[in-house]
Each structure stands twice: as C-alpha cells, then as structure tokens.
C-alpha cells in the first residue's frame, strides 16, 4: 500500500486510483471511503482533490449521441469477431461478454460524511478566488452588455411593492427602494442592482443570482433572503430566511495582502452586516429567528419541559432554528428545567432558560454561545 497517510491534495490528484474512484470507474469502490474513515485528517486534502478532478471531467457535447450502451459495444465486438475469419468458428465466450454492468448509481460517502467541511473549503476557495477574479469584473461586463435593456423599478409609495422577475423569482421592494435588473437575464448569471431594501424569493437555477448593493454582493442560487442597503444608512444587511447565500465585497481588500475573509456564507436565520465606513463584513443572527424545522404535530403547541437537562433543550432549539448553539455540555448537564414554552421568540426563550439557571448567552459570529457556571 502506498504512503497515503502523508498524501497532500496534489498527491491525491496525481493518484490514478483516487481519480478513478472520483470518476466512478474504480474497481475498489470501498477503499477510499474506508481510508477516509481511518484517516479523517485527510478529509480536506481529499475533498480538494476531488473537486479538481470533478471539474476536469470532459463534457459530452451531445450526451445522447455520445452515450454508448453496453449492448452497442457488444454488437461492435460481435461484428468484429464475425468479420475475422477465425471469429466465424469461435464461440462467444463468457469472459468476454459475461460482465454485467454494476449499478450505475454510485454513493459518494465522502459527501454525506463531510458536507459541512466541504462547504467550508468551498467558501474558502471562493474568497481566495475573489482575489484573482474580482467579482466586479463580471458585474461591470454584464452591466455594459445589458445596459440597454436594464429595467428600473422604484417604489415611491409607503407600501411594499411586489415584483416578479423574468426567472420567476419574486421580489418585495420596500418603500423608497429601487431595483434595476435586465429585462432578460444573461445565461451566465442573474444580476440585479438594489438601492434600499428588498426581500427575495429566488427560483432555484444553476446560474447564480447576484444582488449588487454598492460595495457588497450577495450571491445565491435559490433561497429567501432580505437585503437592506439604503444609501443613508451606515450599514448594509442581509438576512437569510431559508437556504444559503454568500455575501462578499465587490472589491477584495488587496492592500492588506492578507487572506482575511472578505466573504461569508449565511444559512437560515443568519445575517450579514456590512459596515460602510469600515468596509467590513460580519456575521450575526437575524432580529427574530424563525423556526425552520417544525414537526407538523408541534405547530403552535406548547412544549412542556419537566426536569429536562438544559443541554437537551438547547439541542432541540438548535435543531428547530438551524442556528448553532455552543455550550459546555457536561457543565450544564445538571441544570434541570421545568417550564412551558409557547410562542416566545428564540431570544425570549433563551432569556427564560438562562435566567432559570443563572446563565447568559451572547451572539458571536452567527452562533449563540450559552455560558454559565452550571448547577448542583
């Protein structure tokens, strides 16, 4: 066995057996997943390598034309055998044709195993990339080509204005806000320009949806979110209702030369704040997080806790709001809660829980951190 434990991403890319596995033509389907299980520290390197190998797969320009069935191959081989003299007498033998195709559906254990980590890596890559391919270019270019057909809608009224874009995405434009968008979106990306506030329900498509607001860009493929970017405000904000969006600055901070994060990935109930003076993006939570995971039976019902350990409740909240909650589990395990929670907001619930056990909570980087001395 090769020295896989010391492999870097490059080594994996070079490794034929690894590439075969990623490309789904490996003879040893289970080797790499098993290896990963044994060496979880290789996860990141393997994922990077996998990404590159995946991107390098040649497309089939005309899939139908280029699809070759096993039957067709067999026919070709039979024709060949028939055309050769000796082929006439030869019997078609099992070893040649007996291979049954294995199940086409491949599982990608690496993905289910570590989806979150992949996302981290991808986002890292995205910001890395944004240094070299500033997103502004993309925008400027499409602005130029689409300038003739850019439609502008403003909302001078005091009521929200509902718009439907060419891709079926829905926008609710707040009062005193303005949205510009091409009458027809380009094939590569859907780009809109916002001044003011709007909430978006984006139709999921492969081409990304970009909301440009001054120095901030919000990138998304299909999700619900609110962007607030009034010229008069000192801050821009993006709040995510569902799905996932990426927020970044239109111009990477080149002067600093560092690889500091100038983009964020937000999930449901998280928000990004862009401070215009500081040119800084930071992550926080939306003002009123909404339940995203709701068991049908639980809707609107009281939830009663009877001598329930605090960690159990926090985990339940984490699950239903999709917001990571950090706490010292052993320390809080002895804190028992007896309470009935109804329609309180997340923050009210946290207030009640924390007061009961003399703990406190704060919002740090889009997560909730609960700290307390614990209970006896």
């Amino acid at each position: 066995m090769k020295d896989y434990e010391h492999y870097t991403a490059e080594d994996f890319i070079r490794d034929e057996s690894f590439r075969d596995w990623v490309q789904g033509r490996s003879r040893e389907e289970t080797f790499w997943p098993k290896f990963l299980q044994k060496h979880p520290d290789k996860k990141e390197a393997m994922q990077q390598a996998e990404l590159v190998v995946r991107a390098a797969s040649p497309s089939r320009a005309r899939p139908v034309e280029e699809d070759l069935s096993e039957k067709e191959i067999r026919q070709e081989v039979e024709t060949f055998l028939a055309k050769t003299e000796s082929g006439m007498e030869q019997e078609v033998k099992e070893p040649v044709f007996g291979k049954k195709s294995e199940s086409k559906a491949r599982l990608w254990p690496i993905f289910s195993y570590a989806a979150a980590a992949i996302l981290l890596f991808i986002s890292g890559l995205a910001w890395y990339l944004s240094d070299d391919l500033p997103i502004t270019k993309e925008i400027v270019a499409s602005k130029a080509t689409a300038s003739n057909s850019l439609v502008e809608t403003s909302n001078p009224t005091s009521e929200p204005l509902r718009l439907r874009l060419g891709d079926e995405s829905e926008v609710v434009l707040s009062p005193n806000s303005r949205l510009s968008y091409p009458a027809q979106f380009a094939d590569s990306a859907r780009i809109v320009y916002l001044t003011g506030e709007a909430s978006f329900s984006v139709e999921r498509q492969e081409r990304p949806f970009l909301v440009v607001t001054g120095e901030m860009v919000t990138k998304v493929l299909g999700t619900k979110f609110v962007v607030r970017a009034f010229d008069a405000d000192r801050k821009y904000s993006v709040q995510v209702i569902s799905g996932k969006v990426a927020v970044s600055r239109t111009e990477p901070n080149r002067a600093s030369g560092s690889r500091e994060v100038n983009g964020l990935i937000l999930t449901a109930n998280q928000a990004a704040i862009f401070e215009k003076d500081l040119h800084q993006l930071s992550k926080t939570l939306v003002a009123n997080p909404l339940v995203i995971q709701e068991k049908l039976a639980d809707t609107g019902k009281d939830i009663q806790y009877d001598e329930t350990p605090l960690p159990t409740i926090l985990k339940a909240l984490q699950h239903s709001y999709g917001i990571p909650i950090q706490f010292d589990e052993p320390n809080l395990q002895n804190c028992r809660i007896t309470a009935t929670l109804t329609n309180e907001s997340l923050y009210e619930k946290l207030d009640i829980l924390c007061k009961t056990v003399s703990a406190s909570y704060e919002i740090v980087d889009g997560q909730i951190v609960v700290s307390g001395r614990g209970c006896r």
Binding site: V53, I73, E76, V96, L129, G222
Partner: protein, 198 residues
C-alpha cells in the same frame, strides 16, 4: 461500468492476442471501447464514423497479429492508432493532406464539471467557475488536460498521442500553467499535480 482494464491485465491479453487468440483481442476491444469511443468523438463528432474507425483498427490489428510487436501500454497505443486512423479517414473525406491534418486537427474538449450528487449550491457554483476557466484554455491545452485526467495517460504517453516531443508537451504545460496561474490557484494545483507524476 466494469472499470478500466488494469495495465498488467491488458498486457496479458496483448500477449495472448499476439499468440493468436482472437478472443483476447476482442476482450481488449470490449474493455477499451468506451475510452476509444470517447477519444474518437473528440476528434470527430460523428458516431458511426468513429465506430467504423474503431472496427477497422481492430480488424487491421488482427491482420498483423503474427508480426505485431509488444507495446509498453496497450491503451495509449490504441489511442494513438485510432487517432491516426481517424485523421487518415478525415483527410480522405475532406480531401486534405494527412500531413496537414496532423498539424491542425481539431480536438473538441469541453469540460463539464461532474455535478452528480452535489447538493450544495456554492459547490455547484464553484465547480461551474472552475469549469469556465478551464474551458477558456486553447484547444491543445485542453487536449492535454483531457488526456491526463480523462484518459489517465502519463507524460510520455501524452507526448505519443499528441505526436509531440517531450519538450513540446512540457512547454505546452508551462503555457497552461502560466495562463491559469493568473486565474485560479486550484487549477494550477491540478496541472502541477499532472506535472509531478511525469
């Protein structure tokens, strides 16, 4: 898919074919058919034409069975043979000189990121981006990447298939590196990965 035939097994079938076993050659044909077909379609996007060419190269191989030499790598040898067959047929068809075609043949390689089972939106987006950058490369550089990553050929074998000298392939690689380094670090990683094995 039954998987690509490992080099050693292919060598064994090649020996058996040279010893006069038609079934060994048929096995090679069957097992390498997808690779050959895919490569053929890059050179000329016409199904039946490509299938005919594959049929013919195996028929010729059987004709020369008694005199054929051992080869280092069966698959890259077959790719070379198929390429010259296709170019020859094209030169007849398009009434061009074979020599001029070997210089200017067009390989159509478009990269299309493998998105199966990718659910994360940003991953999809990133892969699309990477794909875009790679598709902007000049054709010869794309051919190199195709042969390296899709056909899994070594540097030597790529030189053979592309009918270039070792040095030219190096130069080509350096060029790709240069243009990609400006675009995307991950792609550089990919090509450096390719270089390291050579």
């Amino acid at each position: 898919m039954s998987g690509r035939l490992p080099t050693e097994e292919a060598q064994r079938f090649w020996r058996e074919y040279r010893a006069g076993d038609i079934n060994a050659l048929a096995t090679l044909m069957e097992r390498f058919y997808p690779d050959l077909f895919n490569w053929g379609m890059r050179l000329h996007n016409e199904r039946e034409f490509v299938k005919d060419c594959i049929q013919e190269i195996f028929l010729s191989l059987w004709k020369v069975q008694e005199t054929i030499a051992p080869v280092d790598n069966v698959r890259s040898y077959l790719l070379v043979v198929l390429k010259s067959r296709i170019l020859r047929e094209l030169s007849k068809k398009e009434n061009k000189l074979y020599e001029s075609l070997t210089e200017e043949y067009a390989v159509s390689v478009e990269f299309s990121a493998d998105l199966r089972l990718i659910e994360e939106e940003h991953e999809v987006y990133q892969l699309r981006k990477l794909e875009q950058v790679m598709n902007q490369l000049p054709p010869r550089q794309k051919e190199l990447i195709y042969l390296r990553f899709h056909q899994n050929l070594s540097f030597e074998q790529i030189a053979e298939v592309m009918q270039l000298g070792r040095q030219s392939v190096y130069n080509l690689l350096q060029k790709s590196l240069g243009s990609l380094r400006r675009h995307w670090v991950a792609v550089v990683l990919l090509l450096v990965g390719g270089q390291g094995i050579f």
